[in-house]
């Protein structure tokens, strides 16, 4: 059985209990609350416990997304997890989640496109549902970036946090509720700009180059996402870009003609940069807080390591 489209029916998120403030960081490296807030807009971030894994956080978010939809593990036949920080290569995180939740025999995939991972994963779930490969999918972004953070590098260790966000997607024949066709791609000539490599397993990035790329090249791609969804930027209820840096978010947003009521996600202030988890985390919080009306269009846009990017418009469940 296939459907003409897919729609997001529920959301959920999980963040570790421990809060790491800028003042905490100032005790570890040469930095200050003012310096961090002015450069990247982050006030605090959540840090996973030593023994808390990417899969643990993914399960936390997934349970909430399933509960939000009133569904159980038997209702899911596909799990796609976007992560760049799962330490274990095999089994993948999707199988670990399935095992823990008791989802019997789902198609189980991990996606690694770094900070754009969730949008890539959502696009694949949408395609699977439209072609009959799945009927209901759990799509998760989960990261433990603090495990790949160089805690002696004052320019990068202030940026990252841990967490997970999840959505449940199922078929729909109503085009007004459907996930829009994805706009995705990459910039492979800039593959060295953001790295986590074997010989130095920490996130390294050329900050100025990433900042220039993000603030000059991405706004036209966001416009293309809206065009592909046949939605005007001015009609969007929310814009949820990857939470990389508040100044990047503002830099992209100021080039786009959003309406005055459009919510531009700024969860980075409280969560830091959580790579593939940042968009579903921010999405889940905005919906939970009642900031977006049911059925209203929300533009998701991920970008990051690769370099890669992907985006689509969903309707608020």
């Amino acid at each position: 059985m296939s459907a003409n489209g897919s729609r997001v029916i529920s959301v959920g998120h999980y963040q570790p209990e421990k809060v790491l403030t800028n003042d905490d960081l100032a005790k570890m490296v040469d930095t200050s609350h003012e310096w961090i807030v002015s450069r990247v807009g982050i006030e605090e971030r959540r840090i996973a416990a030593e023994d808390e894994t990417v899969a643990d956080m993914a399960v936390g978010a997934s349970r909430r997304a399933l509960a939000d939809a009133g569904l159980g593990p038997g209702d899911i036949d596909m799990i796609i997890v976007a992560t760049v920080s799962a330490k274990d290569v095999c089994p993948n995180t999707a199988c670990r989640i399935a095992d823990t939740l008791g989802v019997a025999a789902p198609a189980a995939i991990d996606v690694n496109t770094a900070c754009s991972g969730f949008e890539y994963a959502l696009a694949q779930a949408d395609m699977a549902i439209r072609t009959g490969g799945a009927t209901r999918a759990l799509v998760v972004g989960a990261e433990k970036l603090t495990a790949v953070t160089d805690w002696e590098d004052r320019s990068s260790c202030v940026l990252f946090g841990d967490g997970a966000g999840a959505v449940v997607v199922e078929g729909t024949d109503d085009p007004d509720l459907a996930v829009s066709p994805v706009v995705w791609g990459s910039e492979p000539s800039m593959s060295d700009v953001i790295r986590i490599e074997e010989d130095a397993p920490y996130i390294k990035q050329a900050g100025q180059t990433v900042f220039r790329w993000a603030t000059t090249q991405l706004a036209p791609l966001v416009e293309k996402v809206a065009e592909s969804a046949d939605v005007k930027l001015s009609d969007l209820a929310a814009f949820i870009p990857h939470q990389a840096n508040l100044r990047i978010i503002q830099g992209i947003a100021k080039r786009l003609d959003f309406g005055d009521d459009c919510v531009v996600a700024d969860d980075i202030i409280y969560s830091g940069n959580t790579s593939a988890a940042s968009v579903p985390l921010a999405l889940s919080k905005l919906i939970q807080d009642g900031k977006i009306a049911s059925g209203a269009p929300i533009l998701l846009f991920g970008f990051g390591g690769g370099l890669t990017y992907a985006g689509q418009v969903i309707r608020c469940p």
Partner: protein
């Protein structure tokens, strides 16, 4: 006709004011972007992007690190 150094400095000063809130009275060739004008590394990228548009020049990321003070930037743009 090529712009004079004064014209370039004036254009740069407008950009610095708009992008980084720098007081135009503070802009002079010997002023360091970081130490004197409080332009941080990301604001410097915004200044460079705006300068590329305004003056029709290319300023690659590798070059940005060499532009320590206003005079360096004026000279770079002057060379085109």
């Amino acid at each position: 006709m090529a712009l004079s150094r004064d014209e370039i400095r004036e254009g740069l000063s407008d950009i610095l004011e708009e992008v980084a809130g720098v007081n135009p009275d503070d802009v002079a060739d010997d002023k360091s972007f970081t130490d004197d004008l409080d332009v941080d590394s990301l604001a410097m990228v915004e200044v460079v992007v705006a300068a590329e548009e305004k003056f029709g020049v290319k300023i690659p990321d590798d070059e940005v690190a060499n532009l320590k003070n206003v005079g360096d930037a004026v000279s770079y743009i002057e060379k085109g």
